[in-house]
Symmetry: C2
Subunit: 216 residues, 2 copies
């Protein structure tokens, strides 16, 4: 937060980014009401940019906005998670198919570096690194709208990951699937890579849904 003498620019985006990371990290419980004035004080600004940021987050599905009734942090439920996973399972392979021909060795190395970090990092960084790895592979697909769609889904997904990140076998399995996916990408084998990616998203979804059921 670089809120010192910033008298100009696009602060709504910055506020949205800060709130986004907070919501994803679970700093607000689902259903928490977000008061405009309170957020304005917190970011040393007026309510106006806050309102803009809430609209942004609403479209991303992180907050729910009711007219004259304020904003609430979007709830988390199994049905919503399944829906997000289904959408990821079709959108990400589409991006990967077009990304693979464009992937450079340097980009593959960067993706691998993220994997290395993920395997040693603390559990609370698992979600962010997971998202970073996926996007590193998909970024070169040259489809900006698709990418931002996937990025939004990744954010939503990450909220749920915090609920089961401590499941160690889930993390181990995810890492293994990531390694296999990366290998397929190195071979420039789009067919295999997309299949692995779909399977990875489905298996992660099923594992987390099972964890949610037991955690009930």
């Amino acid at each position: 937060m670089t809120d010192k003498p910033s008298r100009t620019g696009a602060t709504a985006t910055q506020i949205a980014a800060a709130l986004r990371t907070d919501i994803i990290a679970g700093a607000f419980a689902p259903g928490t009401v977000l008061r405009q004035e309170e957020l304005a004080r917190r970011f040393h600004t007026s309510r106006m940019p806050v309102r803009d940021s809430l609209r942004i987050l609403e479209q991303e599905g992180l907050v729910i906005l009711a007219t004259n009734r304020g904003a609430r942090v979007a709830p988390l439920d199994a049905a919503g998670f399944r829906e997000i996973s289904e959408m990821r399972a079709v959108a990400e392979p589409l991006a990967l198919k077009h990304a693979i021909p464009e992937l450079t060795n340097r980009q593959l190395d960067q993706a691998e570096a993220i994997l290395d970090q993920a395997e040693t990092a603390a559990a609370d960084r698992f979600g962010a690194l997971n998202k970073a790895f996926h996007l590193a592979l998909l970024a070169p697909c040259q489809r900006p709208r698709l990418l931002s769609h996937i990025a939004g889904l990744s954010d939503l997904n990450e909220r749920y990951l915090h609920l089961a990140a401590r499941e160690l076998d889930y993390a181990a399995r995810s890492h293994a699937e990531h390694r296999a996916l990366l290998a397929a990408c190195r071979d420039r084998d789009a067919e295999r890579a997309c299949g692995l990616l779909t399977a990875h998203i489905v298996s992660a979804s099923e594992a987390l849904l099972a964890a949610l059921r037991t955690a009930d």
Copy 2:
């Protein structure tokens, strides 16, 4: 819409809706700059709700918002259309798969009524009826986020349809494919219906891309 004494409520949404239909209908040329003050006069309000509405439309991809530089109607280009079509081609079958078990005969009849209208309606209504037919089939899928995603893509798609709606063989082919799709839905044959839907979106995409190339 022209209700002047409306001193309360959520006017930003209404302004956004009005602008949305205008942009989709092609009332503004792509790239047109949208001045806040001008829109405020037009809707008999201040710039504030206009700003909110522009944010909404930006998230939907209908306008592009540059900081300190105003809002422009999003441009139309072949690459963008192809990207949208690809996303529709994976998202809509996903929705249809889950909608088919929920589809009632009444809903199928309503979809057919839309088709009947589409075949006799004027060319400028083709896009709207096309969108209505697709959403009528997909609506019962019980996945609100997926549906709103598809609705947004349909709006973007509709902008392009105006460019080729007068291609009569395109319209005829689209109608025939819609009929076949509807028949598969009546049979509750999800496999066949999803295949037809994918093929329909791909063929429509290719036809329009070809029309764009010749129109060059």
